[in-house]
C-alpha cells in the first residue's frame, strides 16, 4: 500500500493550478499543492482540494450503456460503437452531414478536442462542432477578434501583481478563479487600487476601493459613460491612440452625449464614482482589466466586449506589463477547446472554416475531403433538432440539460434527436436522456495538455488507470472512425502524436512539443519562430490586425425586462464550492455540506415584502419554466434583483433563463431575465427537478 505522486493540472477552472495527485492502490487518495508552480505557488481552492472525490472510482460509469425499453443495459464497446457508426452513416446518407454533429468538452484535453473536430470535419464531413464556450466566452472570441484580431487574454495572470489599478467587470474571481481572486486581494493589500463593476456585492466588491453596483444589463451605458468622462477631461492616452488605434473620431463623437447624468440615470451609479473610476483607470501606470460572464452572457455580449476593448485601447492599457484585456476563461481547457477549433466556424488556431485555402490545407494534411458547408452552433443543433433536421449528436463531458439556457427547449431538442450519445464520467442529467452512454477517462487517468486562461499550454500526467472499461476521448473517436470505415484518419498510437500533428498544422503552437512543455512549466501561445519561448504579453508592438479598432457600440435593453407578471430581475452566478453542473464537486461530502440544495439570493427588503423567512421554499417562474428552491436572504443583491447559482440539478436555474441570442455569436442571454416568486408554505420543502433514471422529470 504505497503512495505514488504524479504532478498534473487542476481540472476545474481556467486558472490552471499545479496539483499533485497522490495515488495508492490505483485510487487517488489525496492531492497536494505545488510550491514551484508559477501560477498557483502552493495554493489550491476548495474545489481543487476536493478533486479526489470528483474523480473517485465510486459512482463512475465503467461500461458502455444502451437504452433498451427505457432502461440502460450494459453492452460491449464493439456493439455500442458499431451501432453508433451505423446510425451516423445512415443519417448522413439520408439527411446529409448537416444532420449530425459533436459537442466536445472544454474540460477534456487539447488532444481530445483536436480529435473531436477532426472527426467531425474529416470523418463525418460536417462543421457541426461546438462546445460550451458558446455560452461562455464566444463573444470574447468574436468581439476581440474584431477589435484586436485575437480573442484571448492579452496578458498573463502574474500581471495582476504588476498593476497599480485593477478593474474587474462582471466577474467574481474569488469564487470561480479563486487563486486569481486571491492575487487580486493581495495586490490590493500591497497598494493597488481595485474597482469592481458588478450588480451584486461580490467578495471583491466588499474589499474594493470602488464598487460600481450598476443595474443589470447596463454595461455598455456605463462603459460609454466612462469614455465620455475620459474624453471630457482629456485623460485618454493620445500617443497610444494615434500610433496604435483607428476609429478614434467616430468613437469620440459617438459617446459625446453619454453624459454623466444620462449614465447615472441608466446605470444607477453615482456620477462621482463614475468620474473616480474613469480617472483611476485612465491615469494608472498599469491597469489590469479582467472580465467574465457579466460582460459576455448577454444579447449584446459581443458589443459588451467591444465596449471593454474600447476603454482599454483609448487608455493605452494594453501591450505592457500589468495591463491588458483579460477575459477570465472559466473551464480548465475552454481556451484549448477554442484553440483546437471546436467551433463551427474555425479550424485549429482560428483558421477560418469558410476560407477555401484553409480547407484545402487541412484536406491535404488529413488526406481526405473535409466538411464544406457552414456548421451549426450547439444552440443551432438543438434548434434544428426540434425542427427535425438534426438527427445524431455526440456530447463529450457536458451537461447541457443543467447548464444551457431554457432547459425545456434543451430537453425537447434532445428528445427529438434520433441518436444521442453521451460520453461522460458519471450519470449526469444529460446522460440520463441519452440513447447510448460511453464511459470516459478522467484527467487523472490520461496524458495530454490543458490550456489555461493565460494561453499557457500545460501537460497533465496519468496517475491511475481508467475504471472498468472507460476510455480516453480521442481513443473513442479513433475506434469510431475505424467503425465508420476510415481508420487511417485517426491512427494515433500516443497522445503525443495527436499533439504533434496539431502543432504542425498551426502557427501558434508550432514551437511546442511535449519535451519543451515539460521543461518550462508549459508555454504560452503564440509559441513559434517569432516567439520561440512563448508569449507572456500580447500586442506589445502591433495588433494582429495592425491597429486596434475602436468601434462605437450602443446600449440596448436586455431582451426581457421585469413587468407586471414577472416583476423581478433574475441573474445567475457561481459559488466557490461548486463547479458547473456539480457532477464532480457535489460528490464531495465537504462541499455538498456547504450549501443547501439550491439557493435563490434575495435582498432583505424584498424578503420582508413577501413575508419570506431565510431558507424558506419558493417557486420561481419565468416565461419559460419554473423551479422550486430556497431563499437565501442576503445583502449581496440589490432590491428587485434575484440571483441563483446554476450548480444544482434539483433546482436548475436554466428552467428560467432566456435563450434570446447575441446575433453575432448565438450567445444566449443567460445573465438576465424576468421572474416571479411565490413563497411556498412555511415548512414545505421545495420539490426537486432531478430527472428520473430514464430522463423524465418527476412531476
Amino acid at each position: 500500500m504505497s503512495r505514488t505522486q504524479v504532478n498534473s493540472i487542476c481540472p476545474f477552472c481556467g486558472v490552471g493550478c499545479g496539483i499533485a495527485l497522490v495515488a495508492s492502490d490505483n485510487n487517488i487518495i489525496a492531492v497536494q499543492p505545488l510550491n514551484k508552480h508559477p501560477i498557483s505557488q502552493g495554493k489550491l481552492c476548495a474545489k481543487g482540494w476536493n478533486t479526489p472525490f470528483g474523480i473517485s472510482r465510486h459512482g463512475r460509469l465503467t461500461q458502455p450503456l444502451m437504452k433498451v425499453d427505457g432502461k440502460f443495459k450494459i453492452v460491449s464497446w464493439q456493439h455500442a460503437l458499431s451501432y453508433i457508426a451505423k446510425n451516423l452513416k445512415q443519417f448522413i446518407s439520408e439527411s446529409g452531414p448537416q444532420s449530425v454533429g459533436l459537442i466536445s468538452s472544454a474540460r477534456a484535453t487539447n488532444e481530445d478536442n483536436y480529435a473531436a473536430q477532426k472527426f467531425a470535419r474529416a470523418v463525418l464531413k460536417t462543421n457541426n462542432i461546438d462546445h460550451c464556450a458558446r455560452i461562455c466566452h464566444s463573444p470574447t472570441v468574436a468581439g476581440l477578434k474584431k477589435t484586436l484580431g485575437s480573442g484571448a487574454m492579452t496578458n498573463s495572470i502574474d500581471d495582476v501583481g504588476k498593476a497599480d489599478v485593477i478593474l474587474v467587470i462582471g466577474a467574481d474571481p474569488t469564487e470561480n478563479h479563486a487563486i486569481i481572486g486571491g492575487q487580486i486581494m493581495k495586490a490590493k493589500l500591497c497598494g493597488a487600487k481595485l474597482i469592481v463593476v458588478d450588480p451584486r456585492q461580490t467578495r471583491l466588491a466588499k474589499v474594493a476601493d470602488l464598487h460600481l453596483q450598476l443595474k443589470i444589463g447596463t454595461n455598455i451605458a456605463l462603459l460609454n459613460g466612462l469614455l465620455n468622462i475620459i474624453f471630457t477631461h482629456n485623460w485618454q492616452n493620445d500617443e497610444f491612440i494615434s500610433q496604435r488605434c483607428e476609429g478614434y473620431d467616430a468613437l469620440k463623437a459617438h459617446v459625446a452625449d453619454c453624459t454623466v447624468e444620462k449614465t447615472t440615470a441608466i446605470t444607477g451609479v453615482y456620477g462621482a464614482d463614475l468620474v473616480k473610476a474613469a480617472k483611476l483607470y485612465s491615469q494608472a501606470n498599469a491597469a489590469f482589466l479582467a472580465y467574465g460572464m457579466g460582460i459576455t452572457q448577454f444579447v449584446s455580449g459581443t458589443n459588451n466586449v467591444i465596449a471593454v476593448s474600447n476603454l482599454a485601447l483609448i487608455c493605452g492599457q494594453i501591450g505592457r506589463e500589468g495591463t491588458g484585456i483579460n477575459p477570465l476563461r472559466g473551464q480548465n481547457n475552454v481556451q484549448g477547446a477554442c484553440d483546437m477549433g471546436c467551433l463551427p466556424n474555425v479550424y485549429p488556431d482560428y483558421q477560418s472554416a469558410t476560407d477555401k485555402q484553409v480547407r484545402a490545407k487541412f484536406s491535404r494534411a488529413w488526406h481526405t475531403e473535409v466538411a464544406a458547408l457552414p456548421g451549426l452552433t450547439s444552440l443551432g443543433m438543438s434548434h434544428q433538432a426540434r425542427h427535425g433536421n438534426f438527427r445524431g449528436l455526440l456530447i463529450f463531458g457536458e451537461d447541457p440539460v443543467v447548464t444551457d439556457p431554457d432547459r425545456n427547449k434543451v430537453a425537447q431538442g434532445m428528445r427529438a434527436m434520433d441518436l444521442l450519445v453521451v460520453i461522460e464520467l458519471s450519470m449526469t442529467e444529460t446522460a440520463k436522456m441519452a440513447d447510448i452512454i460511453l464511459p470516459a477517462a478522467s484527467f487523472a487517468e490520461k496524458q495530454g495538455t490543458f490550456t489555461n486562461c493565460e494561453r499557457r499550454v500545460q501537460l497533465i500526467h496519468q496517475a491511475v488507470t481508467p475504471p472498468g472499461e472507460a476510455k480516453v476521448d480521442w481513443q473513442i473517436l479513433k475506434e469510431l472512425a475505424d467503425k465508420m470505415g476510415l481508420p487511417e484518419l485517426m491512427n494515433w498510437q500516443t497522445t503525443e502524436q495527436v499533439f504533434d500533428e496539431m502543432s504542425q498544422l498551426t502557427d501558434s503552437f508550432s514551437g511546442m512539443s511535449y519535451p519543451r512543455l515539460k521543461l518550462n512549466n508549459g508555454l504560452q501561445w503564440p509559441c513559434n519562430k517569432e516567439f520561440p519561448d512563448g508569449s507572456r504579453c500580447l500586442h506589445s508592438k502591433n495588433f494582429p490586425i495592425g491597429k486596434g479598432k475602436l468601434i462605437p457600440v450602443d446600449y440596448v435593453l436586455t431582451d426581457e425586462i421585469p413587468d407586471a407578471d414577472y416583476p423581478y430581475w433574475f441573474t445567475t452566478m457561481r459559488l466557490h464550492f461548486h463547479y458547473g453542473c456539480g457532477s464532480m464537486t457535489r460528490k464531495s461530502p465537504l462541499l455538498e455540506r456547504e450549501t443547501p440544495i439550491g439557493l435563490l439570493f434575495i435582498h432583505p427588503q424584498d424578503a420582508l415584502d413577501l413575508g419570506l423567512k431565510n431558507h424558506q421554499g419558493v417557486t420561481v417562474s419565468s416565461r419559460r419554466g419554473c423551479v422550486e428552491t430556497r431563499v437565501e436572504v442576503s445583502h449581496q443583491v440589490s432590491p428587485g434583483l434575484l440571483s441563483m447559482p446554476y450548480h444544482f440539478k434539483e433546482a436548475p436555474s436554466n428552467f428560467l433563463t432566456n435563450d434570446a441570442m447575441d446575433p453575432n455569436t448565438e450567445m444566449p442571454e443567460l445573465k438576465v431575465c424576468a421572474v416571479n416568486i411565490i413563497p411556498l408554505p412555511e415548512g414545505q420543502p421545495p420539490r426537486s427537478s432531478v430527472l428520473s433514471d430514464i430522463g423524465s422529470r418527476n412531476d
Binding site: 504505497s2 505522486q5 481552492c45 481572486g181
Partner: protein, 369 residues
C-alpha cells in the same frame, strides 16, 4: 507515542547515511523528501535507487508527513446487512527518513491527540521516525517562537541526525546520530557504529545557537500570541481578515497538527444495476463502508446542524477559532505545547493572504496601537 521514561540517548558518528538507509531498507519501506522532475519537494516512498536525502531550509516540503499517520482517507468499518466490522488498516513498516523538528513536534502533538485512535496507532507503531536538525531557517518558519525547532526536540524521534560538518569538496559529511528510543536502538542493531564524544554534543549545541541566531525577528508572533490569549483582539479585526477566507481548506490540510475529520458513507453497487442512480437506501441490500476524510473548521458547514443552527455561522468566528486552537494557553495542560509548530505552511498556501504571518502581523499592529 514516545514514552519519556524510556529515552536512552545512545550517540554515534556516521559519515555515510547511505549505510543507514540500506540497513533500514531491509525491514522498512523508506519514505523521504525527494525533489521531483518539476523541482517540487515531496514526501516520497522509495523502492529503488537510494540517493542522498535532501536537508536544509530549502527543502521543507509544502506537505508534511501527516498523511502517513493520520490518513487523508481511512476506511473505518463496513456493514454487511447484519453486523459492523472494523476495517484494520493494512500497513507495512515504514521509516520517515529526515523529518524536520517542526513536523516531529506536530507528530508528538498528534500522538497525544490520537492516543486512543486505533487507526492512527496502527500506522504509528509501524513507523520509525528519523529526525534531522535544521541547519538554517526556512522561508516561513518560526519554530523558535513556538518551541518546536530548529533542532529536533527531545522525545520526538526514534533517531536524530545532526550534521556536524560538511565537506563540500569531498562531498561527504560528518553526522551525529542519536538513538533516542528502544525502537531506534533496535533499528540500528547490526550496524558497526563509532560512538560519539562529548565534543560532538557540544558542537551540536553550538550549531543550534548559530541557527537560532539566523532567524528573522519574529517578535510580532510572540506579541500576537499574548494578545490572543488576553482576548484583546477586536471583533472588527476578525471581520476584516475573514472576508478574505475563501474556505479553501488549504491551511487545515497542510497544518501538521490539524486533526479534524468527517465521515461519509459509500454504498457498494448492487450487482445487477449498472449504475447506482437511486439514492434511497435499502437496508437489506446495503453493503456499505464508513470512511473518514480530513475536514476543515474553516468550512461554513463544519458545525452546521441538521436543524440549520450553526454556532459558527460567521467566517470571523471560524477564523478566530482556528487561531485560538493554534495559540491558546488553554490547550497547554493537555498537549504541553501550542497547536502551532511554526512551519509557516499556512502562509504559503492561503490564497486570501491570511496565513500565520499575515494574521499575527496584523494583530500585533492592531493591538500595539
Amino acid at each position: 507515542m514516545i514514552d519519556a521514561k524510556k529515552i536512552v540517548n545512545n550517540q554515534y558518528l556516521m559519515n555515510d547515511l547511505g549505510i543507514l538507509k540500506r540497513h533500514l531498507a531491509k525491514c522498512y519501506s523508506i519514505v523521504q523528501i525527494q525533489k521531483d522532475v518539476d523541482g517540487e519537494n515531496l514526501w516520497t516512498e522509495q523502492f529503488s535507487d537510494i540517493c542522498e536525502p535532501l536537508f536544509g531550509h530549502d527543502h521543507l516540503p509544502l506537505t508534511s508527513p501527516k498523511g502517513f499517520l493520520f490518513a487523508e482517507k481511512e476506511e473505518l468499518y463496513k456493514f454487511d446487512g447484519e453486523t459492523f466490522k472494523t476495517i484494520v488498516p493494512q500497513v507495512q513498516p515504514k521509516v520517515l527518513f529526515g523529518v524536520q523538528a517542526c513536523d516531529l513536534s506536530a507528530i508528538a502533538y498528534q500522538d497525544k491527540f490520537f492516543k486512543h485512535d486505533p487507526y492512527y496507532q496502527k500506522r504509528r507503531e509501524n513507523t520509525l521516525l528519523i529526525g534531522i536538525d535544521c541547519e538554517s531557517p526556512c522561508a516561513n518558519g518560526f519554530c523558535v517562537q513556538v518551541d518546536a525547532g530548529p533542532h529536533v526536540k527531545d522525545n520526538t524521534a526514534d533517531l536524530v541526525l545532526s550534521r556536524l560538518n560538511a565537506d563540500e569538496k569531498k562531498g561527504s559529511s560528518e553526522w551525529l546520530m542519536i538513538a533516542q528510543t528502544e525502537k531506534g536502538i533496535n533499528s540500528i542493531k547490526g550496524l558497526m557504529l563509532d560512538k560519539s564524544e562529548n565534543k560532538h554534543l557540544k558542537l551540536r549545541k553550538k550549531l543550534l545557537e548559530k541557527v537560532r541566531s539566523e532567524f528573522a525577528d519574529y517578535s510580532y508572533i510572540s506579541n500576537a500570541i499574548e494578545y490572543l490569549n488576553d482576548n484583546s483582539v477586536p471583533a472588527q479585526l476578525w471581520e476584516e481578515l475573514s472576508v478574505r477566507c475563501l474556505g479553501c481548506s488549504g491551511c487545515t490540510n497542510l497544518c501538521p497538527t490539524c486533526s479534524c475529520y468527517s465521515t461519509y458513507e459509500v454504498v457498494e453497487k448492487q450487482p445487477d444495476t449498472p449504475v447506482s442512480i437511486s439514492t434511497e437506501v435499502k437496508l437489506e441490500m446495503t453493503q456499505s463502508k464508513t470512511i473518514r476524510c480530513w475536514d476543515s473548521c474553516l468550512f461554513q458547514g463544519f458545525q452546521k446542524e441538521a436543524s440549520g443552527h450553526n454556532p459558527s455561522q460567521k467566517a470571523a468566528q471560524r477564523v478566530e477559532r482556528f487561531w485560538f486552537h493554534k495559540f491558546s494557553d488553554e490547550y497547554l495542560p493537555e498537549f504541553q505545547r501550542y497547536g502551532c509548530v511554526g512551519c509557516g505552511r499556512c502562509e504559503q498556501t492561503c490564497p486570501g493572504t491570511i496565513g500565520v504571518h499575515s494574521v499575527m502581523k496584523r494583530i500585533d499592529q492592531q493591538c500595539c496601537s
